[in-house]
Symmetry: C2
Subunit: 323 residues, 2 copies
């Protein structure tokens, strides 16, 4: 799809005040690709042509490189996938200059017709949670950062999630609550058994309540769950237990999850999940077979090729092929 077309489709959806969930479902169907491209700029892994001549100790200069790199990724995946997931930490690492770059990247993604799920894992209580929700959720103009959705951590309990839920619904935005994460130590607390069920199932139950209460025409709500790709059994289990919750699935590629591992995250129509891939897409220029085919200078072509390959993998191995 040409950039202008994506931009106009998105503008129509926003103007019509489509819910986050319906916008995401429409974008997944349009692209036939339930994928987010993770924007995790890491200095050492950026294509050499972007780093050349830049002092890595100069945070302002590095922030400009990060923004340029992310714009390049956005150009490469535009029209191929529904959206991007910028990781806030890498921008915060550069201080205020990094935060300015983050805002530029979000704006650029919106103009490219891509949805933005900001991975910030924010959480707090009461009016402080309201401030986070107000900061990040909602289209540009409604919030300074203008993300379509934000990741949120649940440790502080239900009254810490409520402000995010309320703001998300008021602004046609979404949130993804951490439920079962992809790291080896994720089980330390998430797998503790209380009242006959692991902690992550208790969190899942609360998320599903919020999702059901915000259910849109596509069948899913504005509140979803983060469930790692490295636990395929739990993905299928949670797909069943959370019938109206979108699943945001990190851990594909570099963290070890593959297309077969995430197959259980989708419903019978191929909907209900978006799979994030960061390093596997954005740093494709550095690994086989893309390194040989494209080289460092062709890094954007490598991103696009790796994205197409991931789409094909998902369509071959899961109900995403029915989209």
């Amino acid at each position: 799809m040409r950039p202008e077309v994506a931009f106009w489709i998105r503008l129509v959806e926003q103007t019509a005040a489509m819910s986050f969930s319906d916008r995401l479902a429409a974008a997944v169907r349009r692209t036939r690709a339930p994928i987010l491209a993770g924007l995790d700029p890491r200095w050492e892994q950026l294509p050499e042509p972007l780093r050349a001549g830049v002092d890595p100790a100069d945070r302002t200069a590095v922030a400009q490189v990060y923004a340029a790199f992310c714009r390049g990724v956005i150009d490469a995946v535009q029209g191929l996938v529904p959206g991007v997931k910028p990781q806030a930490a890498f921008f915060e690492q550069l201080g205020p200059a990094g935060m300015t770059a983050l805002a530029e990247v979000l704006d650029y993604a919106h103009r490219a017709g891509l949805m933005v799920v900001l991975d910030g894992k924010r959480n707090d209580i009461g009016s402080t949670a309201e401030a986070y929700a107000d900061a990040y959720l909602g289209a540009p103009g409604l919030s300074p950062w203008g993300a379509d959705a934000l990741t949120v951590s649940p440790y502080l309990g239900d009254d810490s999630l409520a402000p995010f839920v309320e703001t998300a619904q008021a602004r046609d935005a979404g949130i993804f609550v951490l439920v079962k994460t992809s790291n080896p130590g994720g089980g330390r607390f998430q797998d503790l058994i209380a009242d006959g069920a692991p902690l992550y199932r208790h969190v899942a139950q609360l998320v599903e309540q919020y999702a059901a209460a915000s259910r849109a025409a596509c069948g899913y709500g504005a509140i979803g769950a983060v469930v790692g790709a490295t636990y395929s059994a739990q993905l299928a289990e949670l797909r069943g237990a959370m019938p109206t919750s979108w699943l945001l699935v990190p851990g594909y590629g570099a963290q070890g999850g593959g297309a077969r591992d995430v197959a259980g995250a989708f419903d019978s129509q191929g909907l209900g999940a978006v799979i994030n891939n960061s390093r596997g897409l954005i740093f494709a220029h550095a690994r086989a077979p893309y390194a040989e085919r494209f080289g460092a200078r062709g890094w954007q072509d490598a991103v696009a090729a790796a994205t197409r390959d991931m789409i094909a993998e998902l369509q071959a191995e899961s109900t995403a092929g029915r989209l």
Copy 2:
């Protein structure tokens, strides 16, 4: 203490590479006040003279007012308390301009000889957690934001905390992990019983291990716990269960905790805890008896008076009086 003196004391401590824990203990003993002044700028509650003529929809202008307000609070509490706890959410709410203001506030606090515990409740896994730790922990020069300590959420498990612990130790900084929070819904997950103990005790056990492994001359480690002032029984319970962990205690004042409620957070020497008070100190100008005594124009005197009163309350009701 005159500002220049506090500055030089702090410079000596930093140059001597004193650990976070020993710096905090020294500052608590020096001030005889185990208190952090919470920097939670909220537009509607700022003193009227600061808001006059400023368009609340102009985020850059509001960010400048937030920075001016926080500098005013810092001037008022300098020498009275060990440090300040800026709440990141209120600055993030203003977009990039807010983040620039946050950096200015941290820098100003350091120059005033105050320690900074940044309340960001960050959390992530692996190299992303490293990026957050690198962003926030360590004196200016070591990290772009230059906080002495950061609050961290534990849901992602032990391998998500490890990067924060390692960076904190390498940079003589600290972290405070959410254990038992002060909000009514905090118990939703934190109080779930697994293996015979509530979840927060499982988290407390891990925090105490990290604290013991980083124990400094003062007897406490670089890793501490956030435990709300609204649960006095759990405060005393956790003081006993976490003998080498600093407790950061929010919820004093506006959230309902008083000097008697937090008495159990201290050890027999009056050490081991710092009590945060945000609204009760920084917005003292708007409540009795300070509103009558100082008025909106005397808001900085109200902050100083409320701080002195809180110090006296703690010294009367707890072992903090032995400091």
